[in-house]
Symmetry: C2
Subunit: 189 residues, 2 copies
């Protein structure tokens, strides 16, 4: 019996590729076994179960996304940073729909805390350094931006904006303008 060289790492990576190809929901222990031309039970030495596999894919995606964000944010400030950050999310979702869907997986708090979720929050906050926002408004703004990015990308991916004018690219640019304006003129209490 030839050994294929399965590892937890390789399974997560292959699972991520599979997700991008067929959708995160279709990522299954069986499908992954087929991809490695290996019997299903063999995977259970490397991942605890199906949920564990999905969680690992999610964490991988979050890590990748955080890396890209960090790279995009380096040396930018203000609206430049805002747009760069937003574009990373959107582009990642387009390039890797399955991974992006995985990144949306609801993780239990400890798992999430151990992963790259914290980096995401820190980076969103870093964007706001270019604007004049004191706490607690800074946190409100972080949440507003996070919500918008996530919501926009989800809706666009889900076809929520399809078949309508104006073009979503224009909306994307104009809404980023609008958010920039909002952050510069954040309303006082």
């Amino acid at each position: 019996m030839a050994r294929v060289g399965l590892t937890t790492e390789r399974l997560a990576r292959a699972g991520a590729e599979l997700a991008d190809e067929v959708g995160f929901d279709e990522v299954t222990v069986s499908a992954l076994a087929r991809r490695f031309d290996v019997k299903v039970a063999s995977l259970y030495s490397h991942v605890k179960n199906s949920q564990d596999l999905k969680t690992r894919i999610a964490l991988l995606a979050l890590e990748e996304l955080a890396d890209r964000c960090a790279a995009a944010l380096a040396g930018r400030a203000g609206k430049d940073a805002l747009a760069a950050f937003a574009n990373v999310y959107r582009d990642y979702a387009r390039e890797h729909p399955g991974r992006y869907a995985a990144a949306q997986l609801r993780l239990d708090p400890e798992t999430a805390a151990a992963g790259a979720g914290v980096r995401h929050a820190q980076m969103t906050r870093a964007i706001l350094r270019g604007y004049d926002l004191a706490e607690p408004d800074q946190t409100h703004a972080v949440r507003l931006l996070g919500s918008f990015f996530h919501g926009y990308v989800s809706l666009e991916m889900g076809g929520g904006f399809s078949h309508s004018t104006p073009d979503t690219q224009v909306t994307w640019e104009r809404t980023l303008d609008a958010l920039d304006a909002l952050l510069r003129n954040w309303p006082a209490v």
Copy 2:
């Protein structure tokens, strides 16, 4: 063999209840059959398949949500309308997490068009009547609001804001203030 009186309608309704109790992902033809104390195959006379069942639950949720929005919007304008609309989304998601998850199901275009999705778009647009926004900015604003509401509620439901200060209720109120301010001072091109 006593007849239970299954109908497509009752199945969708029971499926929605089940979704709220155990989560939309756990809604399965088998689970629904158990709930009616009926054999699994019996359901296939009323729904085409598992996907069909889920779609019907999604459409039911979208309809309910649209009804609530319409009721909330009646007689309100400007920020009042904005807040009322936003609160309907948030409250619905809290009251009916399973149904809300169902409403997020990706529908094929024809199904979506036949459902209440159109009403949602029209109502979001109605909110903007209280603000001075011409096309195409109105559409951009509709998309921004839709993205934010959806994103915020998803993140909050998913625990994205948990264990952090300030309180999410405060953020909710302040971000609505901010969006109101943004709509009143929409940046010119």
